[in-house]
Symmetry: C2
Subunit: 228 residues, 2 copies
């Protein structure tokens, strides 16, 4: 029980909440271009997190600031980009060209943050072959080749629930290793696949709960999981 298995060395066990906040720090820095230096206190002001927390989050990855001064914005931004792995453009595959899928395809927020939906798949022969917003819709039957040739590691899925598991299985087989799932279905994936679920209807369900059982929150929770 010395090495091997479990957690592959390094990686000091970063809290998942830290990872989440990191991206928000990064986005906040994209805005503030007024000054060249920013203190944890100022960044706290902008993002709504505590200064202590920001400093703690950052030091998981190194020492980026200068005492008595703060953080050099450009430098910190660069570091965050590097940490988050957004120092490149990711090619993302979208599976499902329905209403939601097409909206995701044109969603500017992805592009702005360095994610390019470079391929769209669908099974519908009606859609296959056509282009939507400059992106060709390919037959999902050919997903494997295309994914490999485009070096795609991230996929977004927006297909009917019944098709979800099958689609994901094939994506995994094709070499995709991260999936952003919009389908309201709990997909099973092997442990090495990174899966994130966005369950929009379930979120409304939560709101319905909190509205119904009028939960009075003591204070505005500073983005614990996601507010609330």
């Amino acid at each position: 029980m010395t090495m091997t298995t479990e957690k592959e060395t390094n990686q000091k066990k970063i809290p998942s909440m830290t990872v989440r906040r990191l991206f928000l720090y990064y986005r906040a820095l994209l805005e503030s271009k007024d000054t060249s230096v920013i203190s944890s206190e100022e960044l706290a002001e902008i993002t709504g997190f505590s200064a202590a927390q920001i400093r703690k989050d950052l030091t998981y990855f190194g020492q980026f600031g200068t005492p008595g001064r703060g953080y050099n914005i450009d430098q910190l931004k660069q570091k965050l980009i590097q940490i988050l792995g957004v120092d490149r453009e990711w090619n993302v595959a979208l599976v499902g060209a329905g209403n939601l899928g097409r909206a995701l395809l044109t969603y500017q927020g992805f592009k702005q943050q360095g994610f390019k939906v470079s391929t769209v798949f669908d099974k519908d022969k009606e859609k296959v072959g056509k282009s939507y917003h400059g992106v060709l819709i390919s037959d999902f039957a050919h997903a494997k080749e295309i994914i490999k040739s485009h070096d795609i590691r991230i996929a977004i899925i927006a297909v009917p629930a019944v098709a979800a598991q099958e689609v994901v299985d094939q994506l995994v087989e094709a070499g995709v290793s991260a999936i952003l799932n919009f389908v309201p279905y709990r997909i099973k994936v092997p442990p090495h696949i990174k899966l994130l679920n966005i369950d929009m209807a379930a979120e409304l369900g939560r709101l319905s709960y909190y509205l119904t059982n009028d939960v009075v929150l003591a204070k505005m929770p500073e983005l614990k999981e996601d507010t609330l």
Copy 2:
């Protein structure tokens, strides 16, 4: 320091993760119509959570099962519906009729779960007055009257980031008390407003992080916050 303030009596402090899972139990029950009774073990099988956890979650709200037998499906479903407050149809307002907004408007997942997007707002004079999928797009300037007359308590927002805060402020003033925010911007709301953020780009950012710093997860985490 006897009563008043803090947490308004009752409400035994339900873990937020429990609320999340509750909705997933509910959705799972919608499917399984084969039998009339289901055990926590069986429900665990379907949903992927542990049987102990399911029982624990449920008993926050009462005793719904019969020992030696399990849970009566119809009865449990009914209870969950009641707890979640989805025993009615919620009228939801959508603000922002852009690409994303329009996709959300037609998203079947909402309707299926009892949420009806009954009103759409936009500021764009081009869009106002037109209908989209049978729903009239109204001028956001008239939001207050319309929201009040339609008894709308939940709003979904999908507007440009710069407009988000202003829009939310007005929604709150109009009487909306729950907001599902798709805008990648940390909106500030008074403590009594329930706000849930869906930050799609940030989710991709997280995936990018996990992909870059290859984090090997010891085991498939059973939907802690949302997988990963």
